[in-house]
């Protein structure tokens, strides 16, 4: 069952692109550069409804998104000798987006009351929740920020509260990265080649939802607790400057707030492959065109300061998937493969 949306219409996209491709030094360096400005009008969105209408959401056309950004890709042949070659492919994309022409702010609240706000001048997937202010050094209780505002909505004061329900919901960062890209390096020496592929992104926030369970300050003795990561500490005595509240004074400490909102930047080594092609002298006896032996490793390592299972989350909005929320999931498996490739 759903609410009717009688005036629903298509989203429309208006794109402007400019760019150039450049080859330098006999194409040892090739460069592609693109800038764009994309405007999406009549944005199709599942708009949250007051729950008192008996439905959670309704399709509606609301407002516009403006995406501006640049894409750069560079391929270079760093070294090229008779027996040795080193190539690098690098690409990076910077993107900025702004919402505009919304009739009013739209707040979408999903599982665990994790909300995101759509408002004029704001980012897409902007997290909207109480701001965590750490632990009260005197009492060991959790603290959140309360903002006082004048009638025009301007912030006139701020203070800390240990009463979660009194905390102010506010914008605390977007799930969209400021830039992202990939880099692949390949080294070849005679018949041996090594390639390393990495992916990175930066400037986004990820809500690390599993922490509410595995870092719950003693609120749930049935669940395993993580060893506190470096830089985290538990309040024990008055005067302690701690990150985690006293287990004796935890009221609402695991409720949704920026406590579990982390910098989602990471650099992930996705794949390393080492391969060896059998020399022509061997091949010719076997009446095949080529044989390549290779070992490869997938999901090798992720460098990140993110605390949680995995900073890689979906930012594709689907029904009831809050973009940028990292929850319990089946882990990415690290694969090691040995391949033999025959070409006839």
């Amino acid at each position: 069952m759903q609410l009717p949306s009688p005036n629903l219409t298509w989203e429309s996209k208006y794109q402007a692109n400019a760019g150039f491709d450049l080859g330098l030094f006999k194409n040892r360096i090739s460069l592609a550069f693109d800038v764009y400005k994309n405007i999406t009008k009549n944005l199709l969105l599942q708009v949250s409804q007051p729950l008192s209408v008996g439905f959670e959401e309704r399709w509606d056309n609301v407002g516009e998104i403006v995406n501006t950004g640049a894409e750069i890709s560079i391929s270079t042949v760093n070294i090229k000798t008779k027996n040795f070659e080193w190539n690098t492919d690098f690409n990076i994309n910077f993107n900025k987006n702004k919402l505009r022409n919304l009739p009013s702010a739209i707040i979408k609240t999903g599982s665990w009351a994790i909300s995101q706000i759509y408002q004029n001048g704001g980012n897409l997937y902007e997290f909207y929740m109480p701001k965590w202010l750490g632990v009260n050094p005197q009492t060991g209780a959790p603290q959140w920020e309360v903002l006082t505002k004048d009638p025009n909505g301007n912030v006139t004061g701020q203070q800390a509260t240990s009463d979660y329900s009194a905390a102010t919901f506010q914008e605390v960062g977007s799930a969209l990265p400021k830039f992202q890209g990939g880099i692949t390096n390949q080294w070849k020496y005679k018949n041996i080649s090594l390639s390393v592929n990495a992916y990175f992104l930066s400037g986004n926030k990820v809500f690390s939802n599993n922490l509410r369970f595995v870092m719950n300050d003693g609120n749930e003795p049935y669940l395993n607790q993580i060893v506190l990561p470096k830089g985290y500490s538990m309040w024990t005595n008055p005067g302690d400057i701690a990150t985690n509240p006293s287990p004796q004074n935890t009221a609402n400490s695991t409720e949704t707030s920026s406590r579990y909102l982390m910098d989602g930047s990471f650099l992930s080594i996705r794949n390393i492959t080492l391969s060896y092609s059998l020399p022509a002298s061997v091949i010719s006896k076997l009446k095949v065109e080529g044989i390549t032996l290779s070992v490869s490793a997938d999901n090798v390592h992720t460098f990140t300061k993110f605390v949680g299972q995995d900073p890689q989350t979906t930012i594709t909005p689907r029904a009831f998937v809050t973009p940028g929320v990292s929850d319990f999931k089946y882990p990415n498996n690290r694969q090691f493969l040995f391949n033999i490739n025959f070409r006839f």
Binding site: L51, G54, A319
Partner: protein, 504 residues
């Protein structure tokens, strides 16, 4: 030339089809077409009843925890002095014990959502029904049931989310949804207006319902029972008594006795005392993860075993070990016959939601039963200067509960007020059925929770000393005028409906 022509045709095709937006799926039913098929109304009403027991998808996931009735009983009785918590948890049910409520707690968010889903379903049937020119008895019955369900859900919402009527009828109540064409953004009506709407719906329901479909469906008597309860909360004593009289006088129900009372809750839909229950079948046995019983009862593996009958309740029942109402309080003993403790708290399971078809996790929760009508009437009489008649009503129940040798016989025990004894009887009789916390606060009494349990913030098992009462903790007593006797309006409503103001 040829290619240009094809392009032109293609464009024409796009333009032509682009305008056809209104294609209804062949199986779609709109609120306008609800009455077109003979079963339409009945199916829609049946669907509303199942919303009380289904785990309806919320925020894109189906959660075993979330079920109207599960939330109904945890939000009410866990906030009372009848049930004690023996294990801290991140499940928001814990906030009913600690009173650390938040607008973001998932159990109130779901309860709010699903309540209004039932209400809006009812509205759809009511509006479709109004278009039937000459409704027969069956159609009227169904429309009446929807008025009943709307009143019942609005009443439960106003009890959980708004100041009691007796404290301030002008306080913000809840959002009344009585029409499908309502603006989605709407203010909260005052508590008094909400009660008026509930009473008007209840009266319409009683008028329209003239067909018996069994106690698992609403009936004329169920509407009267609701009206008796609503007027009790409103302290309209005459109406409370009038509607209780109507139910008692209908002759449809009789009080269970010493032998049948222990069978009542496992056999609710066939019990002589049941006015209205929400029928569960074996298909609806949600076991450990999703049943009501799993919160408060375990046969060893069927429940979580974390919430028990409180020492406070057992203390007031102790003078009468022969009271048959003890049959729903089940002590857990180890192999040597010693009482088992959980984190220092004595394990007394509650079995009012168990043993239908012998399953420890299955029952058809009783929403209205005859004993409550006697108790409503007794309270109405007690508050309108008819104490001996009130005591007669209490005795009518006590006779059937193994207390024939301890009747009041119109004599008020010394040192007690008539309201004291009425509320005591009500507490013991209706324990764990979602009444106690409302009964305490609407009568402007404080909730005494000075017993050991994890509602006391920061309690450790080693602190528990059952030989003495706890002292020095927060939450030992909850004042009747504390803002925390009710819950916050869920965050989703506040954020999408700026006209709805939050509770203190």
């Amino acid at each position: 030339m040829k290619s240009r022509f094809i392009l032109f045709i293609t464009c024409l095709y796009l333009v032509g089809t682009g305008c056809v937006k209104d294609i209804s799926p062949s199986d779609s039913i709109t609120s306008e077409t609800l009455t077109n098929s003979p079963d339409g109304l009945r199916n829609a009403v049946t669907g509303s009843y199942s919303l009380f027991k289904d785990h309806v998808t919320f925020n894109g996931t189906q959660d075993d925890n979330l079920m109207y009735l599960r939330q109904y009983f945890q939000l009410s009785d866990f906030a009372s002095d009848d049930i004690v918590n023996a294990q801290v948890t991140t499940d928001p049910l814990w906030y009913s014990f600690t009173l650390d409520h938040t607008p973001t707690q998932t159990n109130t968010r779901y309860f709010w959502y699903i309540s209004y889903k039932i209400i809006n379903n009812a509205n759809a049937v009511i509006e479709a029904g109004e278009k039937i020119s000459n409704p027969d008895v069956a159609a009227k019955q169904l429309i009446g049931e929807c008025y009943f369900l709307r009143a019942f859900c609005h009443f439960n919402l106003v009890r959980f989310f708004a100041t009691p009527y007796t404290h301030d009828p002008a306080a913000p109540g809840i959002i009344l949804r009585t029409s499908l064409s309502d603006e989605s953004k709407k203010t909260r009506s005052a508590v008094g207006e909400v009660y008026e709407s509930i009473i008007s719906d209840g009266e319409k329901a009683a008028d329209l319902m003239n067909q018996q479909r069994g106690v698992m469906y609403a009936s004329k008597e169920a509407a009267w029972a609701l009206l008796s309860r609503v007027n009790l909360y409103k302290e309209d004593h005459a109406k409370t008594i009038e509607y209780a009289d109507k139910v008692i006088g209908s002759g449809r129900f009789t009080l269970t006795d010493e032998t049948s009372f222990p069978q009542l809750f496992k056999n609710a839909s066939a019990a002589t005392e049941t006015i209205f229950c929400l029928a569960f079948t074996q298909n609806d046995d949600y076991g450990k993860f999703g049943s009501i019983a799993s919160m408060i009862f375990s046969d060893g593996n069927s429940g979580w075993g974390e919430e028990f009958a409180s020492s406070s309740l057992r203390d007031v029942m102790n003078p009468h070990p022969e009271d048959i109402r003890w049959s729903y309080i089940v002590p857990l003993k180890d192999g040597n016959g010693n009482l088992v403790k959980k984190n220092g708290i004595e394990t007394y399971y509650i079995s009012k939601f168990s043993f239908q078809e012998n399953s420890p996790t299955l029952s058809s929760p009783v929403m209205f039963r005859l004993a409550e009508m006697y108790l409503n009437r007794a309270e109405g009489k007690a508050k309108s200067g008819q104490p001996s008649q009130a005591l007669d009503d209490l005795d009518a129940i006590r006779k059937k509960r193994g207390l024939t040798s301890s009747l009041y016989n119109q004599q008020l025990p010394s040192g007690k007020t008539i309201l004291d004894v009425v509320l005591l009887e009500r507490r013991i009789e209706l324990a764990f059925e979602g009444h106690r916390n409302f009964d305490v606060y609407r009568n402007k009494k404080n909730m005494d929770r000075s017993y050991w349990g994890y509602h006391l913030p920061g309690l450790k098992e080693t602190d528990v000393n059952l030989a003495t009462a706890p002292s020095g903790y927060a939450n030992l007593s909850v004042s009747w005028n504390s803002p925390r006797i009710i819950y916050y309006i869920p965050v989703d409503e506040i954020q999408s409906n700026p006209m709805c103001i939050q509770n203190q």
